[in-house]
């Protein structure tokens, strides 16, 4: 299951971050590391990007980027 495929209100625990280079590094730097709990809060009006909540802050990333984040557990909040 990847982060782009879960609905607003659902959350998950990250298992791995795909992609490469700048993008991947940016995701890691922002705290999207393995075993981090992340929640999808919202989808933008035009369907993209999405709004996440993790490590007590709010982050927005595009769906293409979310698709590179693999989750190992998915739960409803």
């Amino acid at each position: 299951m990847t982060l782009d495929s879960i609905k607003p209100g659902q959350g998950g625990v990250i298992s791995s971050i795909g992609g490469q280079g700048l993008l991947r590094r940016r995701l890691l730097d922002m705290g999207l590391t393995p075993n981090t709990r992340v929640r999808v809060r919202k989808v933008a009006p035009m369907g993209d990007p999405i709004e996440l909540s993790l490590r007590s802050y709010v982050l927005t990333i595009r769906k293409d980027e979310a698709a590179k984040i693999e989750l190992k557990e998915v739960f409803d909040i």
């Binding site: 995701l27 590391t33 990007p49 007590s56 709010v58």
Partner: protein, 671 residues
């Protein structure tokens, strides 16, 4: 002289703290070779200590210009102290940068900002424990309320005197620790020679950081050893080097936080933000609300407050001009001095200065949007629209302002997070039809398209947008090729902007604009005045049709044959349009020697056909912006060369599109 480097994440309150620590004695410039702003100021009451405000960054990775600039500054300029501002409400992610800064072996102090919000929500942070874990002083503050600032300054002064670097950097555990240590021994001497703290260099080599490999002149043999060590580490951890280090840092942070931070609930500000976002980024209402806000800002700026203020200023300038004029007549100065001062300097700089109220008011609203945290939401709402041309949602606001005036729009690109986006936005924004072009559209449409005036005008606006989109695609696939900066953006909690920071922001923009009005713009208007008022024997001309400018106009006019017009008056008007676009109208009426609008319409038919008039409008819409906008471009790109290239690109685009309009139009209309 001691230097403090102020470093921290975006949205951590860095600018607010900077403004609190420094007095009015600020110097704003750029880091060498890039468009990234470098602010330097004196620590209040300490004349021998200066503070450099570094770009807001999340990491010291080698990918973005902002990160590279910060790194280079810290490594090469070796400040006496790093003052690291940390947002206490968001401590985990903020400490990620802290851990990287600690490796630089520079004395460090942490300003733990927004502590008031943490305690007010019933949460707590054990500052003592945090400080002993990290091995550096931590001072709780509230930058916006000014709490803890005197204590912070005391600690900073003491730390500079003691000059002790962070001793602790064993926040690495297990396999990563092993790798960093063995590599650190291997490259110790080279790191010292290159001016890199060995520990920082070793971490960066484990991370696979290109610039560090180069700076340390790592030999092929060492390369093999390093790669071997890293490979062992990767296999043991079952992950790659970059993830391993990020994971290690976050694990260490989680460990500290589990001991020092008690978090019962989200802060009140975070809870409030979530509620506000339910409305402002609502699925259906979010975009209409945004457009409503922008409409309100435009209406206030250009109509309600701006226009009357502009009138007052214009009247003031007129009075001043008259007084000067009378004085000069009384002193019987020569004609050319009189003309230089009145027709050249006063008319030119005066007309540009009358834009000042608009700029100040617009930036009042923009800094409210920026400081409150709403600008990040605009990027979230609008990102999808701009993505296709390789930009992100953040560029939407400058482009929108471009419909009002390119000058503040270009100045507003300063807030864009990436240098690439900033450059592209600066190039594309002038294609948005600015309000100064309206009189030109008015004059031409009244004469040639009286029945379809609205259609023609809307068509021009749409054409501008379409050209911007196409140019964006072109730039994205040519000079701005390569990996765009990813759209991974924090949505900070909404906060009430402080009066001080809004005022400082307005003052900075006003100062910036006035400076330019008296430098680049001053020079530009004098040149145009000279060309307009003199002939080749350098005698003043009564009739501007005998001037050098008119000659140049007739010289370039054949260039416009593919656009369907070849008249020296049209090309001359385009040249004077560089001072301000409205000047196209006044020049055309002066050169055609007509007084009334009806006459003008008739005369225009001798210059243009309806189709070539439309090609002329197209060219006017797209060619290089006025000299004030050009000066802003130069300032923001921090390079005359790139500013000129930008102007050439815009003018070439205008020419090509104008020619296409005329040529294709002639096919259908038969000329």
């Amino acid at each position: 002289m001691s230097v403090i480097a102020l470093a921290g994440n975006q949205n951590s309150g860095k600018t607010t703290l900077y403004n609190k620590l420094t007095g009015s004695n600020q110097h704003v410039g750029n880091f060498p070779g890039v468009t990234i702003e470098k602010k330097e100021g004196q620590l209040k009451k300490y004349k021998d200590i200066s503070i450099v405000d570094l770009p807001g960054i999340y990491s010291l990775s080698p990918y973005t210009m902002e990160e590279v600039v910060t790194r280079d500054f810290l490594l090469k300029d070796k400040p006496d102290l790093i003052l690291n501002i940390v947002d206490a409400t968001n401590i985990e992610r903020n400490l990620y940068l802290t851990l990287q800064l600690m490796e630089l072996s520079i004395p460090m102090v942490i300003a733990l900002n927004m502590m008031d919000e943490v305690t007010a929500s019933g949460n707590s942070i054990d500052v003592q424990r945090l400080s002993s874990h990290l091995g550096i002083p931590v001072v709780p503050i509230s930058a916006s309320k000014g709490e803890g600032i005197p204590e912070l300054i005391d600690v900073v002064i003491r730390s500079i005197k003691e000059n002790s670097s962070p001793k602790k950097h064993d926040f690495c555990i297990g396999e990563v620790h092993k790798a960093i240590h063995s590599i650190s021994h291997l490259i110790y001497d080279q790191a010292e020679a290159a001016g890199y703290p060995p520990r920082f260099a070793a971490t960066k080599l484990v991370e696979g950081d290109g610039p560090t490999f180069k700076s340390l002149k790592i030999t092929e043999n060492q390369m093999h050893i390093i790669e071997h060590v890293v490979k062992d580490m990767e296999e043991a951890l079952k992950t790659d080097r970059e993830a391993a280090l990020a994971d290690m840092r976050y694990c260490y942070i989680e460990k500290i936080c589990s001991e020092a931070v008690v978090k019962k609930q989200e802060t009140k500000e975070q809870q409030r933000s979530e509620k506000i976002d339910e409305v402002l980024t609502h699925k259906y209402f979010g975009i209409p609300i945004f457009l409503g806000i922008m409409f309100f800002i435009f209406w206030m700026t250009f109509n309600v407050i701006g226009a009357p203020l502009q009138e007052v200023l214009e009247e003031g300038i007129a009075l001043f001009t008259e007084a000067t004029s009378n004085a000069m007549i009384a002193f019987d100065v020569s004609d050319w001095i009189y003309s230089l001062v009145i027709d050249g300097i006063y008319a030119g700089v005066g007309s540009v200065l009358s834009f000042l109220p608009l700029i100040v008011i617009l930036f009042f609203f923009l800094s409210l949007l920026e400081d409150s945290g709403y600008m990040a939401r605009v990027a979230f709402l609008m990102d999808k629209l701009l993505r296709k041309i390789g930009l992100s949602g953040r560029s939407f606001v400058p482009m929108l302002i471009g419909f009002g005036c390119s000058v503040p729009a270009i100045m507003a690109t300063r807030t864009l997070a990436s240098e690439r986006d900033r450059k592209m936005t600066i190039i594309l924004t002038p294609f948005m039809s600015c309000s100064a072009k309206l009189p030109i559209y008015g004059m031409i449409t009244v004469a040639f398209f009286p029945d379809n005036a609205a259609t023609v005008m809307i068509g021009l606006y749409i054409l501008g947008i379409a050209v911007a989109v196409l140019s964006g695609l072109l730039l994205k696939n040519t000079i701005f090729k390569g990996e765009p900066v990813p759209f991974v953006m924090e949505l900070p909690a909404y906060r009430i902007p402080t009066r001080r920071s809004v005022l400082i922001h307005m003052w900075e923009k006003a100062k910036d604009f006035i400076q330019r009005a008296f430098t680049v713009i001053f020079l530009g208007t004098i040149i145009i005045w000279f060309l307009q008022s003199f002939n080749w024997s350098f005698d003043m001309v009564e009739d501007s049709s005998n001037s050098i400018l008119a000659f140049l106009g007739s010289l370039v006019s054949p260039i416009f044959i593919p656009l369907g017009f070849n008249d020296w008056r049209a090309s001359t008007a385009l040249i004077t349009g560089l001072t301000a676009k409205e000047a196209v109208v006044s020049t055309l009426s002066v050169l055609t020697g007509v007084v009334t609008d009806v006459e003008l319409s008739e005369v225009l038919f001798t210059v243009f056909t309806p189709l070539s008039a439309f090609a002329f409008l197209t060219f006017t819409l797209l060619y290089m912006p006025c000299i004030a906008a050009f000066a802003a471009t130069k300032r923001e790109l921090n390079s005359m060369k790139y500013a000129i290239l930008t102007a050439l690109f815009q003018t070439a685009t205008a020419y090509v599109v104008g020619a296409i309009v005329y040529q294709i139009g002639s096919l259908f209309l038969g000329g």
